[in-house]
Symmetry: C2
Subunit: 334 residues, 2 copies
């Protein structure tokens, strides 16, 4: 398997990206195509003693940054490492593409360069997030601010397939993010989406309240991109704030510091469990070939995890499975 | 000042309600009108040695429960303690009304019995919530699923007045809940609301991301009721889940239990800081007279806090201030 990787996506590029790729060559047995400034990649690899064995480099002079607008990937920044990676994927030069760069640009580029699976209305950004036990997929979490019910139905179908094939969850519970559990809750979008999701052959568990998302309410949480983005970011915000408060407690006196030393390992494990880096990132769902977004702040370990999940994304035939499901359930909605 | 209180609203009614009222008579110097089953109120007060001094009782045979639909307050349950309280308020038999009962019914009843301030489009449910330092108002958090931009503008105006007059925050920072900080972020509702809020004479700090809400992004967070409800409930859900995880850590071994004993007081204080009960509840904004919703699980202390805030709601002339602001800024939007 050959995975194309944007060597210049994210805050720690290219060093941590290259390092994660080198680990993946050894640990996962994958071949890598790196896109980005070739000279810099070679220099950084050499300076840090990283082997580039089984890694090909495709030179891209430019980088798309967080400050660039998403559409720039097709215009001013069409020579960037992300755009090149997507073109190589579209041309069949690799089996999947991974980037830690600008999420908006990745969605636009994936849509226009790699293209959608036939029948898929929109590509969704679908991070894997921690919950009380295990993890869940939040789909969509920001790629599509305005959604139609058919899009939410497709999000449910795509998310279910991913969670089953990649994360190994049998018959994933698909739930609709709503403001109450009763069938009639929410606005027009939720009413119509509820009916469609119910008739999609999914293990649809109905509406859930946001309160229950962290407590294992579902394996796939379906939302329009506005609501999903609010969930994604508030989740992180509340967790960060509470962890900060906890740190204050554990450092504000000598006796508390001593107590902290005792539970330090457990607290670190808890923090790690809520660290998105552990989950590697977010697949883009609906692309005609696997595209995976890893964290902008990804270090080598996260890059490795992203490559592990991307490998499973390819091996699970997720794209083909989605294509046939969408053809089956989405045919009359076109 | 005379505050009408629903003696049968919430899980701990009537005992904890009566107890909180008795404390408020002493501590706040307010007079109380209790609505509900008179005999039961008198019996519970006597059995628990609670003085009913400066408390009037208005008999209401029925109670609206969480299982009843909101509209029942005008139909099957028009004889309930909540409906009676609202009627007494509308008739001028008291200065404000407090209930811990069914929130939906309270919004419907307040709208139809107490009525809105002239020019106010919708009554909003606006809980006061904890953040990193202090608290903020989330308006609307569920009363209005579908919102128009003019409604969000009014939410900002009403919230700003409440936070200044009742919570003592000078020039409260009003922020629009959005999926990015840039002016153009969000959907149509956010675009139009942004423009209106900017021209409302408020201390409008613009769009904020959900991630920053717990970290002091604003004193008044404006949202449509769907988004607000997701924020309200996820906030609680993430906090509960993390507190649960912390409890697991602190009880899973003897050494951890010993460490826990050292920091117990601090952890409890943290938990309390994130306990909505501490903040007493949520004012309904836009009613022609002050209506305040206290927690369904409220105990005497929370009822007392709710009465304290309700007293400030009356004394701050919040209703009159809103009426003149709405007349000033909302006139051309009708």
């Amino acid at each position: 398997m050959k995975i194309i990787v944007d060597a210049f996506g994210g805050d720690n590029a290219p060093l941590e990206i290259i390092r994660g790729c080198a680990d993946a060559v050894k640990g996962l047995g994958v071949d890598i195509v790196l896109t980005g400034r070739e000279q810099e990649i070679r220099r950084v690899a050499q300076e840090n003693g990283i082997s580039l064995e089984r890694m090909e480099i495709c030179d891209a002079p430019d980088v798309i940054t967080m400050e660039d607008s998403a559409g720039d990937i097709m215009k001013a920044k069409s020579d960037c490492s992300m755009a090149l990676g997507l073109r190589l994927l579209a041309q069949g030069k690799g089996d999947a593409f991974v980037s830690g760069g600008n999420s908006g640009a990745l969605v636009v580029g994936a849509t226009l360069i790699v293209k959608r699976i036939k029948g898929v209305r929109r590509i969704a950004f679908a991070p894997i997030m921690p919950k009380n036990k295990g993890c869940f997929m939040l789909i969509d979490s920001g790629a599509n601010v305005d959604c139609k019910p058919e899009m939410l139905q497709q999000f449910g179908i795509m998310g279910s397939i991913y969670m089953e094939k990649v994360m190994g969850i049998k018959r994933p519970r698909v739930a609709l993010a709503n403001i109450g559990v009763e069938d009639h809750k929410g606005g027009e979008l939720q009413h119509s989406s509820f009916a469609l999701l119910k008739n999609s052959g999914l293990n649809f568990v109905g509406n859930i309240e946001a309160r229950d998302i962290p407590d294992n309410a579902g394996d796939v949480i379906v939302a329009d991109g506005f609501t999903g983005n609010v969930i994604l970011k508030l989740y992180e915000g509340v967790a960060l704030m509470l962890m900060g408060k906890l740190k204050d407690i554990f450092t504000h006196s000598v006796k508390n510091k001593l107590a902290a030393a005792v539970v330090l390992g457990d607290i670190k494990a808890l923090k790690q469990n809520f660290d998105y880096n552990e989950y590697g990132g977010a697949p883009l769902m609906g692309c005609s070939k696997p595209v995976f977004k890893t964290h902008g702040s990804a270090k080598a370990k996260t890059v490795y995890n992203a490559l592990r999940l991307t490998k499973a994304y390819v091996e699970g035939n997720v794209v083909d499975e989605i294509a046939s499901s969408i053809a089956r359930y989405g045919a009359d909605e076109k």
